[in-house]
């Protein structure tokens, strides 16, 4: 059942680095993160990698496996041929700290810019009443484990560092949408999304949705409905597209 795999792992820091070759044992049922851990334990004790839960729940072990943004803990070795070279590199959009660990502080900065949930006036704790159908829309977005793979993948920032200032990225535009759809939130979020968080940059290529390990429909359910509400209905072709997407009837 065991075999030796050929891994190429990017090692280095902010100044320099390159892909290093490793031959490493793989056993039945293992995921890429298991192999990275085996490298740490047996060949490269100081190989830097983030991980926590190893079950796809915390969103720590994001990296690019053969160029594809993925959680290493949810990438099974059985999806690769035994003679395939597996290349593991850090997320490209964020500055490297060391090896597979990147500086993701951009995301925390953006998180602090989104105005928090504004509780409704005059509703005491314990008196919140909401229907399941109404909370489900925001609940989908709250499944987000903040792996930042969507932020890493979105070409608005992946290929254009300059846009990072004006664009919050799919994760935080989705956060704005989540608050906008919260049945009891008391703020107007739509203007914010467009003017402060750069919703207009998004041209709905759905790359974020494709890489989401939680299978959240970021583009269809969060970003497009937001766009629909903020842009001038007469001139935006997205309204047409948006109308094709099912919405809550009430």
């Amino acid at each position: 059942m065991s075999y030796d795999a050929h891994f190429r792992v990017w090692r280095g820091d902010a100044d320099k680095g390159d892909l290093q070759d490793f031959t490493v044992e793989v056993n039945e049922g293992e995921v890429v993160l298991d192999i990275i851990h085996r490298l740490q334990a047996t060949q490269a004790g100081d190989l830097a990698v983030r991980w926590n839960c190893k079950a796809g729940k915390c969103g720590s072990c994001s990296a690019e496996v053969n160029g594809r943004p993925r959680l290493m803990c949810m990438t099974r070795m059985s999806t690769f041929a035994q003679d395939e070279t597996i290349t593991v590199t850090p997320m490209r959009t964020f500055p490297v700290i060391k090896d597979l660990v990147t500086d993701v502080s951009f995301n925390y900065t953006k998180a602090r810019e989104v105005p928090a949930f504004a509780p409704p006036a005059g509703v005491a704790p314990g008196e919140y009443r909401m229907q399941q159908v109404d909370v489900e829309r925001s609940q989908e977005f709250r499944k987000c484990i903040e792996c930042f793979l969507c932020q890493n993948t979105c070409h608005v920032v992946r290929d254009h560092d300059d846009n990072k200032e004006a664009f919050a990225g799919p994760r935080f535009l989705m956060r704005v949408a989540e608050l906008d759809m919260h049945p009891l939130d008391a703020l107007d979020r739509q203007k914010q999304a467009q003017e402060e968080f750069g919703l207009g940059f998004c041209n709905i290529t759905k790359c974020c949705t494709e890489v989401c390990p939680e299978h959240i429909k970021i583009t269809d359910n969060a970003l497009i409905p937001m766009k629909e509400r903020v842009v001038d209905r007469k001139y935006d072709p997205l309204v047409w597209l948006g109308n094709k997407i099912p919405r809550r009837s009430s």
């Binding site: 820091d13 056993n27 039945e28 049922g29 293992e30 995921v31 298991d34 740490q40 334990a41 047996t42 004790g45 100081d46 190989l47 830097a48 990698v49 983030r50 991980w51 926590n52 839960c53 190893k54 079950a55 796809g56 729940k57 915390c58 969103g59 720590s60 949810m74 099974r76 700290i97 060391k98 090896d99 660990v101 500086d103 993701v104 925390y108 998180a111 602090r112 105005p115 928090a116 949930f117 509780p119 704790p125 314990g126 919140y128 009443r129 909401m130 229907q131 399941q132 909370v135 925001s138 609940q139 709250r142 499944k143 987000c144 484990i145 903040e146 608050l179 919260h182 939130d185």
Partner: protein
Amino acid sequence: MTEFQRHEYDVVVIGAGGAGLRAAIAAREAGKRTAVICKSLFGKAHTVMAEGGIAASMGNVNARDNWEVHFRDTMRGGKFLNHYRMAELHAKEAPQRVWELETYGALFDRTKDGKISQRNFGGHEYPRLAHVGDRTGLELIRTLQQKIVSLQQDDGGDGKLRVFAECTITELLRDESGRISGAFGYYRENGNFVLFRAPAIVLATGGIGKSFKVTSNSWEYTGDGHALAMRAGSTLLNMEFVQFHPTGMVWPPSVKGILVTESVRGDGGVLRNSDGKRFMFNYVPDVFRKSYAETEDEADRWYTDPDHNKRPPELLPRDEVARAINSEIKAGRGSPHGGVFLDVSTRLPAAEILKRLPSMHHQFKELADVDITKEPMEIGPTCHYVMGGVEVDPDSAAANRVPGLFAAGEVAGGMHGSNRLGGNSLSDLLVFGRRAGVGAADYVAQLGGNYPVVHADQIESATASALAPFNASGGENPYAVHAELQQSMNDLVGLIRTADEMSEALKRLDELKVRVAKVSVEGDRQFNPGWHLALDLRNMLLVSECVARAALLREESRGGHTRDDYPTMQPEWRKKNLICSLADGGAVDVVEQPMTPMRGDLIGLFDRDELAKYMTDDELPAPAEESA
């Protein structure tokens, strides 16, 4: 002297899971300058792994529920070894703490009338767990994280409440009189050292599972807070009680131990052996006989008519279920990969499973090629939680013997007695996290700005200790030593224990102590996991010794401590806590300490017959009182 960064705060919270964040919110709301130290990135703490829900007797699904019922369930689950006052505060305050989360923006699943929905769970008499599908922990951590951000927005920056991510504390510092003066640690990113000068510290570091091989716990769970408290002169309570969750994944090997939520059983899932038999009916202990169904028919009726039927035995407290599964496997009635079967596929329609247990479906599909809507899961016990922890004052969460030190959440002991009920962890985090934050703020206020001083020699010695693994060239690989520690604890101080095996474990731990002191690491201080592990190992080793020594002393079986050589529960032992402290020279000292007797009004919440199963005759109320 090696350079270090310096910060000054009123309250420093070590740990950024549910308890730590709730403590920080409370300290900040009390006007204190507060720092939160997280070992990982902000929002990744082990709390995200919690699945089932938060226990709080809101009575939204069954109006008969109230704090007294919740208190009784908690004491029964802990086999009456719980600190009664903690169980009381917890049961009384949990609903407020859950409702408060809604004002922070949490979105729980709803009942038809728009209230927070509540689900059944092991040991809870009524549906009691507020939940969001099976990802309640994620909702809790994200909600508290966003509340922290919201407080920072109110402050116009992080001057009064700041999160220090990827930072590990290695030492607590005290002044000459023994009061807390600060904490010393390093940033993972660059290996630089940092001093937090603060008169109050809240430990909220979670558990110790990484000392065991098969565990549901993440890399962070290395018993840091337990070890920091001991080294600072405080005490640990009842460390022998370690919860082995009955349902961890068993296959493939790389995921062995990953948690399968108890909600699977709460929502109708059943346990079967290789003969296809629902074996839990054979394992209902006498103390629970009255509350659990005797036939499958009755058990199945309970899901729709709980008022007229008794509960399925699959919903016994976790210690009972874990032991039963272990017995079935040992008797040769296990599943192909050494577990038993947990089946929900024949119990609920596929669409309902996908709705209620989406992350379980995802986890098994992605990691084990098992579709839980079509086939049973294979599961077995996994090290999940430590009931033992820092000995604290129930009301203020102040740690024993060390002024300025507080502890809340899994790192604190007493609340759960010998076994924790599912769902009582998240509520524990909120109730005692808040109390610790308030307790720390009150303590600081009393000091009137007169803060204990940190001395240069303390920094020097903490620095030298942290750098030691770089200086020990040619020593052992920390990963290899860690694997041996985990194997020893798993094999010798696991679910079922004997005196011989634990004595052997202590011998091995002694040998490992020598080896851990000599591990060496390659590379430099920049984000170096080998170095981090070398430092964490010291904590794991100390905590493992506490577990093994206390477990060897307690000659009875109760909750999360099962002795093959002393298989029954002994009322005499219920009156005793085992207290670990660090003696001069680094030895672990364990002594018996009498348990604080339960208050009369709380004793009055139980039938005398039930109490008689747990208590000695002289502890029981006089029979006449009962009829009064």
